[in-house]
């Protein structure tokens, strides 16, 4: 843990979060959220929490951004929130009071990495001392997640698979599901891929799809 770096990364995290909220273009917000994930990953790495850091860097910075862009493709790119001045001026003091309350409460927390902290009493000592002996696994995080608390992991995996199933249930459209088809694709089984306007054949045959427009613009 390096104190000045921690301070800087905390500041950068706050800046990135505020920017991601303020930016009207949702694509920039997606990019900023990916950057936010990277900085959070740096923060976790700074306190030697490498497992969390890797998951944050992998899922937050790489994968969820693409899924966000897919969602933007299906909906709209610009956020159209109206500014409500009255709500803003009532929310600001409330948020400030909440932050003050949290800061005040955090003074009673134990220090980071304090071995006498309440979280480090009880079973965690057993896990730390018994892990290598019980499971031959040097990485305590893995043995905790997949052995001691594997039912939690089972539940988490179930949540992810359920999310995929729910996405399929909501978004997959069959032929003749409904009439108001806003995405403009042809619901016709195998032909729908061609009807959606992708021109792979042109790409593969080496023809530049923009050649016509360039010619038209420069003739």
């Amino acid at each position: 843990m390096i104190v000045p770096l921690d301070i800087i990364i905390f500041l950068v995290l706050i800046i990135a979060a505020v920017l991601a909220i303020n930016v009207k273009d949702l694509l920039a917000a997606v990019a900023l959220l990916a950057g936010y994930s990277l900085f959070a990953s740096l923060l976790f790495a700074g306190v030697n929490a490498v497992d969390v850091s890797l998951v944050e860097a992998a899922l937050g910075a790489g994968l969820t951004g693409v899924l966000f862009i897919g969602a933007i493709l299906a909906t709209s790119r610009h956020s159209t929130a109206k500014r409500n001045l009255r709500r803003r001026w009532t929310m600001l003091p409330l948020i400030a009071a909440f932050i003050g309350l949290m800061l005040f409460a955090s003074t009673g927390l134990p220090d980071r990495g304090d071995p006498e902290a309440p979280a480090h009493q009880g079973v965690s000592r057993t896990y730390l001392s018994q892990s290598l002996e019980d499971t031959e696994t040097p990485n305590v995080v893995t043995s905790l997640l997949a052995d001691y608390r594997s039912q939690d992991t089972l539940g988490e995996t179930l949540v992810i698979v359920t999310a995929a199933l729910a996405a399929m249930l909501v978004l997959v459209r069959r032929e003749g599901d409904d009439e108001d088809d806003t995405r403009g694709s042809d619901p016709g089984g195998d032909t729908s891929g061609e009807a959606r306007g992708t021109t792979d054949d042109e790409q593969e045959s080496g023809r530049d799809p923009y050649a016509d427009e360039r010619e038209g613009g420069r003739r």
Binding site: Y210, G216, R219
Partner: protein, 135 residues
């Protein structure tokens, strides 16, 4: 050995600082991307090369460091290329200096060629330009 490492890392840091300065003071998208992508990649290369000489380096991390280096060198410029190409396709305009005298002279000579050109864009006259011209 540590001295060599520190010197190489220092040179790399110079390039990284320069790239961030370029990000701040360059006038438009293309100049920024051009300046920053190159010098940032070079700085990353030099910093990682310097880390090869550090005493903290142990056996298994050499291969990983090489892998990070190679993949960064391949992936970063390609990512910037994709973004800049997309922005060019979307009509982001390059920053140009207008020298009115030279422009007028050139335009005069180009008059005949222009008259021979049938421009669908101008004749269509659907609307103005997409950005306000400073002049």
């Amino acid at each position: 050995m540590t001295l060599i490492a520190d010197i190489i890392i220092g040179i790399g840091m110079f390039f990284i600082v320069v790239s961030t300065l370029a990000l701040l003071i360059m006038p438009d998208l293309y100049t920024r991307a051009h300046a920053v992508a190159k010098s940032e990649t070079l700085g990353l290369l030099l910093v990682f090369l310097g880390l090869f000489f550090r005493p903290e380096l142990d056996g298994p991390s050499v291969g990983r460091l090489v892998a990070v280096l190679v993949f960064s060198l391949v992936a970063n410029p390609t990512a910037v290329h994709a973004l800049v190409r997309a922005s060019s396709r979307s009509g982001a305009l390059p920053w140009t200096v207008i020298d009115q005298e030279i422009a007028d002279a050139e335009l005069g000579t180009a008059q005949e060629r222009y008259d021979a050109v049938d421009d669908p864009v101008v004749s269509e006259a659907t609307g103005g330009p997409s950005e306000e011209d400073p002049r």
